[in-house]
Amino acid sequence: MKVKMISRNPDHYVRETKLQNHRMPRNFDPELHPMETAREYVRALNATKLERVFAKPFVGNLSGHRDGVACFGKHPKYLSTLATGAYDGEIRIWDLANRISVRNFVAHDGFVRGIVYSSNGDRFFTVGDDKTIKVWNNAVPDLGEEEEPVNTILSRTILTDISHHRNEQIYATCGEVCAIWDENRNDPLKTLKWGVDTLHSVAFNQVETSLLSCCASDRSIILYDQREAQPLRKIVLTMKSNKLAWNPMEAFNFTVANEDCNLYTFDTRQLRNPLKIHFDHVSAVTDVDYSPTGKEFVTGSYDKTIRIYNVHQSHSREIYHTKRMQHVVCIAWSLDNRYIFSGSDEMNIRMWKANASEKLGVIKPRERVAFNYQEKLKEKFAAHPQIKRIARHRQVPKHVLNAQRKMRAIKNKEKVKEANVRKHSKPGKVPFVSEKKKPVLREDV
């Protein structure tokens, strides 16, 4: 007779010395892993709860400005450099890794309105309320030398914003007109004008690099081509747009931050109705900036909160707020897609994590694997009511909550009123207009 029995040699299953890792033989046979789905569900629930537990988005505070922060300039090459301008004309350059300001000087009389770095990052340009464009070296001046601009250009009109071309030595300013400048010349290459009103925000497209657009105070958004003599087209919204940001990955999409608490994402090929309306803010949206992946954007608002939106979704996925943060004036998403900077009225610059529960610092491979697994589980069970509720819940400041209630009441009231009007008028006289069509009043070519 021949007999074989399971007889495990412990030498193959137990480690020899303490310096070795434990031997962990695996067998992926599904029958040895009963109730797999229920266990995965519990894991997903735990992962979602832990995500909320570890959601501590506030990284740090950069204090130093003596007046409200007005604008940001992101360095195109150094992640740890950020330039900020304040209401009192002071500019500070920050070393973000050490959270200290390395340079500070007064650049303008009155507000600093805009800062941009040149495409190679050697210089930066500032515009201010004193109608000047100043060019500064990125390098810190030697010891004992005073901070002096490399060049100062006196503009004939007021200047409200500045934006730099992606790769050429060209930048654009706006004010009464939109002007295109060469870095090496003191006069604008061309000026573009449509109507008489002032423009308060300009942005170059980073992909389709000759395209730029402005927000005007007559509630319009104007598209220009830098190579053409005339503006391309214009749309007029119901309320003024404060800021405009182009999607860095999808050349034809841009998002505007509007005074009516909403943001609108437009497709340049179809300006008549926006692709998406982004709700949730309860006061004017002051600034918007895209993440470098083009999948999300961050907004700052007058309601003292910051929100993060998915480009394809109407409601925000995240809200950041602190007790001390006042009206958010400017916002920026760092180029490594990990941090968000916000500048607010009360002179502080705040650094936030883009993903609130992300672990900072070195992550070991096994940890990384565990995080990836958790991510996947959360995605798999995202639709389950309990998990959904936990993942969605956010604590919101009281004033925001009250304002939300009020806005909801107003919206309901309008709905009821419209329904009543429709009921008491001739059929077909009061048409149904989609929400998307309402914000755009007209399009001019």
Binding site: M5, H22, R23, P34, D225, R227, K380
Partner: protein, 601 residues
């Protein structure tokens, strides 16, 4: 459009990568990428990469450039040409049929779902591929010519195996019987409880005693908890929990006169059935009684958990097996298995089959997932009083002092010559296969004996699930992880994957929803008349206005109901796929039970 005009007028760029939209290929020439199935797709998983690195000998490649290049090519193609996986292996790891994308509305989600299926297929394949890494093989007995395995006695088998395995065959003569017994989930420790108070816990492989004591009271049943440092004892009145030193940790007085106990390791529930017919579930992690109710089955003596979904199967005196979940007061399912009282009951460790034995001297195997059967029915000479199934599907049953083992529970209709047989010196009170070992433990009236059954146990364990060679720190870590992943008792259902299924309304819910349409209550109208200045209003006018508004609303409501009813009736044709007969006009056999008034209708 600005985009179109810009592309050809633009000055040439100074270096830098080209952007995707600048490609010289016209849009019509670009072919859409089609998704391939996993077998056609060239995944370069990590395993393959490692093999590639190994197969290219560095020196050869260095010295003979020409040939080495060739060799390199061959080896990489060899690696890419994956060897085929047997179909039944793939089937074992298969996660069920694909989601049909036909009903998916948008192209985007359709493609997303298709891509997901490709990944799933790949994952299944990878899991199946890991099977070649398993080191241990299943045991067996190969009889000599003209001999049968059934005629080998245990001593003979023990002589023919290695010393380590032979030492696993042993017998304990104990005086406090009859005994009940349990193995831990990883098969390392053994717990014995004698009816006359004797309780012993030990590592049965090394024969190291953890504790031994006499509780000076009747011991009805014993059970390990989630680790080998704690066990529960159902004693004369209450259930006690002891640690591995034999120290009494708890006395659970809520569990009164318990007959049988089962521990659900993934739910941390100690399920008990008592003499009055109460089934109770005790959460041992928080010490709370999750559920406790009367099953109305009378004295619960035969109880077994279904390891595949955590449902409790209780065998009753009427030949019925009922299945219970802690959060549902009625049985989830009832199966009439025998025409006589049930004498023994077990569910196989995979949760696929249930085996029942009755006083009618039959042993039947049922498909417990489909609640169908019997798949196989054996006729024995005596009724079986214990049945168990091993991890690899060996079936053991005892009849009085005699034990028989069939190598596979689905082998055939007739109870043929068994695989192995054994006669014990006294009545068999407990049978259990040891997990991950080829051992059958037999607890009798006079002690315990351990029997060698080659081929019954699972040879390859998963160390993250159950590890027989667990160290102390590993055990602690495992305990913490298990506690974090404790499945809530609400998830104990017949289908363990119900939580991931789509929530489709049941027929009953559909009927209720349709019925609710016809029994709507008119809404309450809370009308407050506007305050009017003096002389303009008056209470009479206000009440009249109120009445007008109320009437208007009621009229509107009735109209709405009428409208919805009409649409329902129009849609509710026999040909529609969700047809539910609300009231049938066709004559039925059951019409005779209708009242006269109903008949007239």
């Amino acid at each position: 459009m600005p985009d179109d005009e810009g592309s050809d007028q633009k000055p040439p760029r100074r270096g830098g990568p080209k952007r995707y939209f600048q490609s010289p290929v016209a849009e019509e020439d670009v072919k859409p990428i089609k998704l391939k199935s996993a077998s056609q797709q060239n995944f370069s998983g990590e395993i393959i990469k490692v093999e590639q690195d190994k197969q290219v000998p560095f020196r050869k490649a260095f010295h003979r450039k020409g040939t080495a290049h060739k060799q390199n090519k061959i080896s990489s193609s060899d690696v890419n040409k994956k060897h085929k996986i047997p179909k039944d292996t793939l089937k074992k790891y298969h996660k069920g049929p694909k989601v049909r994308t036909k009903g998916v509305k948008t192209k985007f989600f359709k493609e997303k779902q298709e891509r997901k299926e490709v990944y799933l297929e790949y994952a299944t394949e990878q899991a199946a591929r890991t099977e070649i890494l398993l080191t241990e093989r299943q045991g067996f007995i190969e009889p000599d010519e003209e001999e049968l395995t059934a005629q080998y006695r245990q001593e003979e088998i023990a002589q023919n195996v290695d010393i380590l395995s032979a030492s696993k065959h042993f017998k304990l003569n104990l005086d406090f019987g009859p005994y009940s017994m349990r193995y831990t989930k990883n098969g390392r420790h053994l717990l014995l409880g004698g009816r006359r108070g004797h309780v012993a816990a030990f590592d049965w492989v090394t024969k190291k005693l953890l504790c031994e004591m006499n509780v000076m009271e009747e011991v009805v049943d014993v059970s390990w908890l989630h680790v080998h440092t704690m066990f529960a004892c159902a004693q004369k009145d209450w259930v006690y929990i002891y640690d591995s030193q034999g120290t009494e940790l708890h006395c659970v007085k809520r569990l009164y006169r318990v007959n049988c106990m089962e521990f659900l390791p993934y739910h941390f529930l100690l399920a008990t059935g008592n003499k009055d017919g109460y089934a109770s579930w005790l959460d041992v992690s928080i010490g709370e009684l999750i559920s406790n109710f009367n099953t109305k089955l009378g004295d619960i003596r035969i109880m077994h958990q279904n390891p595949g979904n955590g449902v409790l199967c209780i065998g009753g005196g009427k030949g019925v097996v009922s299945m219970w979940s802690p959060k549902v007061r009625e049985p989830l399912a009832k199966m009439l298995c025998h025409s006589t009282p049930i004498s023994a009951l077990t569910v196989d460790p995979k949760g696929k089959y249930m085996v029942t034995a009755g006083q009618d001297r039959k042993v039947k195997v049922w498909d417990i997932r489909a609640l169908k059967g019997p798949m196989v029915s054996y006729q024995l000479r005596l009724p079986a009083n214990q049945v168990v199934v091993s991890q690899r599907g060996s079936l053991a049953y005892s009849q009085g002092t005699y034990c028989e083992i069939q190598s596979n529970l689905l082998i055939g209709k007739e109870a043929r010559t068994p695989y192995l047989r054994q006669t014990c010196d006294s009545f068999v009170h407990g049978l259990r296969f040891c997990p991950y070992e080829d051992i059958l433990g037999i607890a009798t009236a006079k002690g315990f004996q351990s029997m060698l059954v080659p081929g019954s146990g699972e040879p390859n364990y998963d160390a993250l699930e159950d590890n027989p060679y667990q160290t102390k720190t590993q055990r602690r870590e495992h305990e913490v992880h298990a506690l974090l992943e404790k499945i809530p008792p609400e998830l104990i259902t017949l289908d363990p994957n119900e939580i991931s299924a789509v929530d489709v309304p049941t027929l009953q819910e559909k009927v209720d929803a349709k019925g609710a349409l016809f029994h709507l209550k008119p809404p309450k109208i809370d009308f407050k008349s506007r305050h009017k200045m003096k002389g303009r209003g008056g209470s009479a006018k206000a009440s009249r206005n109120k009445q007008i508004v109320k009437d208007l609303k009621r009229k509107e409501f009735i109209e709405d109901v009428k409208k919805s009813k009409r649409t329902v009736f129009n849609q509710h044709t026999k040909n529609s796929n969700d047809f539910i007969p609300l009231e049938t006009s066709e004559p039925s056999v059951l019409d005779r039970f209708k009242s006269k008034a109903a008949k007239k209708k």
